[in-house]
Structures are given as structure tokens and as C-alpha cells.
């Protein structure tokens, strides 16, 4: 028997049918006939969505599950919550599982918020008395004091989401599964959710969090699991796994951007730290490239750095007249504001009246060595990595 709050997944495999479009009797008869005649059916109807997933989570661990869309994250959560059965392997959990697999799961539209709390609670296996004891906490957390006796169909989607999250989080599950719920809700409520997850964690519960918001995952989880194409690609401390995962995303981004597009092209991008070394956090840095222009453009050139996505951490603008042909452009930063890590450099060029000469696009990698960021307070999300120099004194 596992200790309470633990999850053990042993060599789990899961497959789905690929072709779900038509399931008429006629199609089945055709397939059966094809088989009888010794022909192979037209296509393999099965697709493996989880392959050989193997891990164990001990009580009280906070695990972040990352992976691109369709990599099997939600399926894995469903298997852990026993909603779905695996094809092969073994799943063991011990303790009440509170699952929040999608926004407002299990919320019934025709009932009031109050009635929903009672029903959902009993579905999670909690007696009515216990639900009643926590009722006020749930309502207060969801900020639904005034709407609790209204039918849920009159709620806004944010209110529904808050209700769903509050029920799942306040019914004291031993294992809490959270799938992409932080995407909705305003940022104040998101922060509340993160705080609540931390409270659940400190009470000794186990948490699995799925999100594309890597910053939130990094703030809450200690351990990371990375699913890639249905396989467990990495399992380790969250910083390490997120680093690997970001690296992969960057690699995809880079592979997409071998050539710059637009009327101004970028070639021979070089990024140098002091004395031509790899750039380091909080040290001087030079970014230079050859701009190839098809005309004499009066334009603004932009260079920015991001964590792989097109949303930059910082941007520098250069208003200039770029002559036809090749010219070398250099951006000298006296102090690189990025901490240790890998980043993507983006470039864009725009003419008068915001006319696009070259779209905002990745043009290269920026690897930064040296100093790391200070950690954030527990469950506080940092918007973006940014290195700030400073000294403390105590008098």
C-alpha cells in the first residue's frame, strides 16, 4: 500500500482511435469484408497517446507537467484520476483525488451555486456535513457571496471558473490535479489560486499542475515532468525540466527561422560579451548584424530578446536611414539585463506610418552565462527574467 497522497504510474500505455468521423455500420461491414478477403484495413485505427510513462510521486510533492499541445498531458491526468483506464501498465493512487481538469468541470448550469457545491462535494466523496462546514470558505474564496443562490447559468465564465476551483481546492483533496485553469480569471484571482495551491501543498497534499504558463509552474512546482509525443522526455527538478523544455521550444522556433523574411534581411548575427566571450549577465554586450536592404529606407529597426515566444522581455529601437545594400548595424549594451539562461533574439523593421518592412521574427539565439536571478517568494510568479543589480545593507 502506498503512503497517502502518493501516485505511482508504472509503464502506462494508452491508445485512442484515430478515425472517429464516421462510425456507421456500413463502414464496419466494409472493413470486415476487407479483412475476410485477407486485405489489410485501409489504415491503422489506433494511435498511441501515452507510451511507457513511468514515475512515482511522493506525498506533498508539487509537480509541474509540461509539453506542447497534444503531447498527452490531459490524458495522463485522466488516467491518474481514474476517469480513464490505461491500455497497459499500472496506476496506483492513494487518497482522495480532487481534479480540476477543465474550467467548471462538474458544474451544473441549472442549479444554484449553493446546490452545486453540495453535489460536487458528494461526488468527490465528502459527506454533506463536511461540505457544509467548508461552505463559507468556498463562497468567500470564490467571491460569490451575492450570487451563490443564483443559477449558475447566469454566472459569467469567470465566476464559474472561480466556483469550480474553489470547490476542488477547499474540499481538502489529498491529491489535487489542476489542468490549465489559470488561463481564465483575472490576474488577482490567478494569484489567489497560486496562493491557495501553496496552502494545499503546505497541508501536505500532492499537486500536479498542467499549464502553458511556465512562469506559474516554475513558481509552484518543485519537480517537473515533460511529456513529448506521449513519452516522458524528462523528469527532474522543475528548473531543469523547464530549461530543457524551453530549449526545445527555442530549437523549434530557430528551425522555423533560418532565413529572415521582408525587405530588410539580417545576416551574420553576432552576439559578444566582453573580449569576444559568451555574453554574461549584467556585463557589457554587443549585438551586431549585417542588414541587407532593397532600398534607401527611412525606418525603425527593433531588436528584442524573449524566452522563445514573440513577446519580448526588452526591446531597443534604432531610428535611421538604411541605405540600399549591405550595412553593418551594432547595438552595444553597457549592461545586459538578462540573467543566466537561453533567449531568442527577435528583429523587426518598420517604415513610416508603421509600414512593415520586415515582420517581427526570431533571428538568433542568445545564451547568457554568469549570474542567476534571486528566487521569488513562494508561489509568486515573475513576469519575465530580468537581471537587476543591487546591494543590500543592514544598519
Amino acid at each position: 500500500m502506498l503512503p497517502e497522497g502518493s501516485i505511482r504510474v508504472e509503464h502506462a500505455w494508452k491508445r485512442f482511435r484515430t478515425y472517429r468521423g464516421r462510425r456507421l455500420l456500413r463502414d464496419r461491414v466494409e472493413n470486415r469484408v476487407a479483412k475476410l478477403r485477407g486485405k489489410v484495413p485501409r489504415h491503422n485505427p489506433w494511435r498511441w497517446v501515452l507510451r511507457d510513462i513511468d514515475f512515482e510521486i511522493t506525498p506533498g510533492e508539487a509537480v509541474g507537467l509540461v509539453g506542447v499541445n497534444g503531447s498527452g498531458k490531459s490524458t495522463l491526468l485522466k488516467i491518474i484520476s481514474q476517469v480513464m483506464f490505461p491500455h497497459s501498465g499500472r496506476i496506483e493512487t492513494n487518497g482522495r483525488v480532487g481534479a480540476l481538469l477543465e474550467v467548471s468541470s462538474g458544474i451544473h448550469n441549472d442549479l444554484t451555486g449553493r446546490e452545486n457545491i453540495a453535489v460536487y462535494g458528494s461526488l468527490l466523496g465528502i459527506s454533506r456535513r463536511d461540505v457544509a462546514l467548508r461552505f463559507d470558505d468556498i463562497v468567500a474564496f470564490a467571491e460569490l457571496e451575492r450570487a451563490i443562490d443564483q443559477q449558475v447559468k447566469f454566472y459569467s465564465s469567470g465566476m464559474k471558473m472561480r466556483l469550480g476551483f474553489s470547490i476542488a481546492a477547499f474540499l481538502e483533496p489529498r491529491i489535487l490535479l489542476v489542468d490549465e485553469v489559470l488561463a481564465v480569471g483575472d490576474s488577482a484571482f490567478q494569484q489567489k489560486c497560486l496562493d491557495r495551491m501553496r496552502d494545499v501543498l503546505t497541508s501536505g497534499a500532492t499537486l500536479i499542475l498542467v499549464s502553458h504558463d511556465l512562469a506559474s509552474i516554475g513558481a509552484v512546482a518543485q519537480r517537473g515532468l515533460w511529456l513529448s509525443d506521449g513519452r516522458l522526455a524528462a523528469d527532474g527538478p522543475i528548473d531543469y525540466v523547464l530549461g530543457e523544455y524551453r530549449h526545445k521550444i527555442e530549437a523549434i522556433t530557430e528551425a522555423r527561422s533560418l532565413e529572415t523574411v521582408g525587405r530588410i534581411q539580417v545576416r551574420d548575427l553576432r552576439v559578444e560579451g566582453p573580449d569576444g566571450r559568451i555574453p554574461a549577465a549584467n556585463e557589457p554586450c554587443r549585438i551586431s548584424f549585417t542588414a541587407v536592404s532593397d532600398f534607401d529606407h527611412r525606418c525603425s529597426l527593433f531588436i528584442g530578446a524573449s524566452q522563445g515566444t514573440s513577446t519580448p522581455i526588452w526591446v531597443k529601437r534604432f531610428v535611421t536611414v538604411l541605405p540600399t545594400g549591405e550595412s553593418r548595424v551594432t547595438l552595444a549594451l553597457p549592461r545586459l539585463p538578462l540573467p543566466f539562461g537561453n533567449y531568442t533574439l527577435y528583429f523587426g523593421a518598420f517604415g513610416r506610418g508603421r509600414a512593415e518592412l520586415s515582420p517581427w521574427q526570431p533571428v538568433g539565439q542568445l545564451s547568457v552565462t554568469g549570474l542567476k536571478m534571486d528566487p521569488t517568494p513562494p508561489a509568486i510568479v515573475r513576469l519575465a527574467p530580468y537581471y537587476v543589480d543591487g546591494t543590500w545593507t543592514l544598519e
Binding site: 509503464h11 500505455w13 485512442f16 482511435r17 498511441w48 507510451r51 511507457d52 511522493t58 506525498p59 506533498g60 510533492e61 508539487a62 485522466k78 484520476s81 481514474q82 476517469v83 480513464m84 483506464f85 490505461p86 491500455h87 497497459s88 501498465g89 499500472r90 483525488v97 481534479a99 480540476l100 481538469l101 477543465e102 468541470s105 462538474g106 451544473h108 441549472d110 442549479l111 446546490e115 453540495a118 453535489v119 460536487y120 458528494s122 461526488l123 468527490l124 466523496g125 459527506s127 454533506r128 443559477q151 501543498l201 503546505t202 518543485q222 519537480r223 513529448s228 513519452r231 516522458l232 522526455a233 524528462a234 523528469d235 527532474g236 527538478p237 531543469y240 530543457e244 528566487p375
Partner: protein, 311 residues
Amino acid sequence: MTDSHIADTGAADSGDVAEPVSIRIRPEALGELPDSPPAALRFRRGLELRRALRELRGTPEIVRSLAERELRSRYAQAILGFTWNVLQPLITVFVFAAVVDRLDAKIATGGVPYALFVYLGQLPWTFFSSSITNGSNALVANTALLNKVYAPREVFALGSLLTRVVDTLCAAAPLALFFIADSRAPRFPESLWAIPLLAILVLFTTGLTMLLSVLVVYARDVRHAIPVIVQLLYFLTPVLYGFDRLHFLTPTIYSALNPVAAVIDGLRRSVFFGEAPLTGPTVAAAISSVIVLVLCYMGFKHFEQGIADVA
């Protein structure tokens, strides 16, 4: 204060939450995995007694909550609300009584007013038919829930059945009026036969509803077929007439195939005439409904495993 001291306290803070995890990269697994898992790994859902018992403990509460939810939501925006439970069967029976009266059809009721005669048959029948029709949708209607939260799947069909029990009890209230209007009373203690008879009805209905609810998840065709079959069964069950009008087979064999017939006949015999239900048909119906329940539940458990994959 040194840096290392600060680092130490930080580590201790996070250390009491969980043990440090070791890095496991699995490049060796990437690429060298077989196309499908070894047969020895095939998942078999074992029957864990402890788990089953633990789940069973919470089941009545969930069933009750689900039934409550259905009842509340059904009449959430209705003005007459629960009254419909009584109105529906009443109106049905009066319509039939009026039609039969007009047609001048001779139906032997043994001296019992026709409306009362039909009403006592209509009650078990409505329980059966509405349980089947609505209960078969119990899983499909709750896919959003059962795809996300684990609860023993039986609860959805059982919850729906419980609402039908409540409905039927409500609908039974006018029975008293019928009796008073005809200044007669149910025969006592023979009316107590109703308890085993209704038990047969509930077992049979529960079995069928369970199996149908899971079949509907796989093939929605079932849902379209049910009303037609129920309509047909209505005339193959002695609701509008006595059991003696159905003479395709011997009553015993017929009751094994359609236990509802034996139940209705038994109810009429005991409540109206103070007789015991016919032994052969009643025993046949009892055995048949237990077999149906067991087989249907086994089927339910088998098909249940794939619900989340197809729902």
C-alpha cells in the same frame, strides 16, 4: 551573515515539503520504444475489495445528491413544479378511460372502476418506462462530469432511478382519491404483496437501465430505439387490460420474458381482490429479474472501462 547561510535556510524550507528529486532524463527511452506495449503489461482492472468497500460507503450520498440535482433542475423554471408528477399520470389515465368508454370496449376488470384498474397498472409501468428512457441517458448527460471527476459510474444510473422512485411515490398519491371515490379500500394484509412485487420491478428496471446507459455512450442509436421499443412493450404489458388478454404463451413463460406483466397482475390481484399473486408467473419474474440484473451489471462493468475514451 554569509551567502551560504542564507542558502541553507532556503533549502531547509523547501526540504520539509518534499524530498529532493533526482534528475531522470530518458534519452534511451526515446526512439527505442517498441510500437506497442508487451502483452504482459496489459492493464487488468483487479477487484480490490478495500477500494470497492470504500467506494460503496460514499455511494448512497452521491446517488442522493444526483437525484436531488435532477429533481431540482427539472422543475427549476416550472411554475407548477412537483405537481406535474401527479398531473402527468392522472391525465394519461383519464384520457385512456375516456377513450375506452367511447369505444365501448369490454375490458374485464372484476368490478373495479376502469380508471382505478388502469391507474394501478400505469404506476409500475411509468416507473419502468421512464426509468429506461431517462436512465439510459444518465451517463451521456453527465459526460462532462464523468470525464473529469472519478466517481463509481453506477451512481449516475442509480441517481436517475432514485428520481423515478420519488416521481412514482408522488404519482401514487391520487390512488387514495380513486379508492375514496369508489368507496373501497385496498385489501389488507394482501396488499403487502406489493413489497416483493415492487422489489422485482426495481431489480429488473435497475439492471436494464444500467446496461442501456452504458450502451448509449457507445452507440447513440440505442437512445433512438428505446422509445419505440417502450411503446411496443406498453401494449405487451397488461396496463390497459388484464393479464388474461395476453395469451401468446403460458403466463409463466410470458412473465419470465416480461416481469413487469407479472408485477402488475400480482398488484391488481392482491390490492383489489385480496388474492395472492399467481405463483408460477411471480417466481418466474423474480428469477428472471435477478438474472437480468446480474448479467446487465456484468455488461455494465465491462463496457464501463472504455467510457471516457468514447464519451
